[in-house]
């Protein structure tokens, strides 16, 4: 993959890993109209975000259209430096992307 849609940073401190992630996605609500054509832009948004830590699911999020464009997400769980963290998103058109990183 040339360029991932996900930017992720995971840092461990006192046994707690803080994950900060930015996903590049337009998060279209399906309510907006195209100003030129007057047609409604179809909804296109992320429905699910999964986070797997050393092979175990630590967080999964169900999202609606009210999450902002280019979503930011941060959460914490117990872990240590060097652990593997994998984040995956899936949108309503079935597209998905994932990225794995090591905890710093």
């Amino acid at each position: 993959m040339a360029k991932s849609s996900i930017k992720i940073r995971a840092k461990a401190k006192n046994g707690v890993v803080t994950v900060k992630a930015l996903i590049s996605h337009k998060m279209e609500t399906g309510l907006r109209k195209d100003k030129k054509t007057g047609k409604v832009i179809p909804a296109h948004f992320i429905q699910a975000v999964d986070c797997v830590h050393n092979g175990a699911a630590v967080m999964n999020a169900e999202w609606g259209v009210a999450i902002s464009k280019n979503p930011y997400l941060s959460f914490k769980f117990a872990g240590k430096s060097g652990d593997a963290v994998k984040l995956t998103w899936t949108d309503n058109t079935g597209k998905s992307d994932s990225l794995e990183t090591k905890v710093k």
Binding site: R32, A48, V58, I67
Partner: protein, 154 residues
């Protein structure tokens, strides 16, 4: 022999039903289970019922919502929810006056801290409601955010 089969089968189905009704955190099933009814709900009560299975929750001061008092741009409202309640299984964010109030639900696994931070869209000035599930019970807290420019529809 027949009886044994019968027993085995009933037990298996029983277990499956139980798993389906209690299984909130099953990785990989999220997309199939995307809660359309809850996310399409037009009012807070049915959104909550769809999301967490109950429309009543006890108000709690152990849930902290960090959000701006005034949001200039409703399209991007940073919201951070944390809680000191023990064993929080899920955190649900609801924006009261959005067209579809349910914003997101975060299911937390073992070892997760009761903390999520994200950015949401808000249609107009309203309360943000955070619902935490802890020990089979639901707790909620809310915070008003004033929105100058709405973030829905544009």
């Amino acid at each position: 022999m027949l009886r044994r089969h019968f027993l085995k089968n009933t037990m298996a189905t029983g277990a499956a039903v139980l798993a389906a009704s209690s299984g909130l955190l099953i990785p990989g099933q999220v997309l199939a289970a995307w809660n359309k009814a809850a996310f399409d709900a037009k009012d807070v009560a049915s959104a909550m019922k769809g999301a967490v299975g109950s429309d009543s929750a006890e108000a709690s001061d152990k849930i902290k919502i960090k959000a701006p008092d005034i949001a200039e741009n409703g399209a991007v409202v940073p919201v951070t929810i944390s809680s000191t309640l023990g064993d929080v299984k899920s955190i649900t964010i609801i924006s009261e006056k959005n067209g579809t109030p349910l914003v997101a639900k975060f299911n937390l696994g073992t070892g997760s801290e009761a903390y999520v931070s994200t950015r949401i869209k808000m249609g107009k000035t309203s309360n943000i409601i955070a619902v935490c599930e802890s020990g089979g019970k639901f707790y909620k807290a809310h915070k008003e955010v004033k929105v100058t420019i709405g973030g829905c529809g544009g």
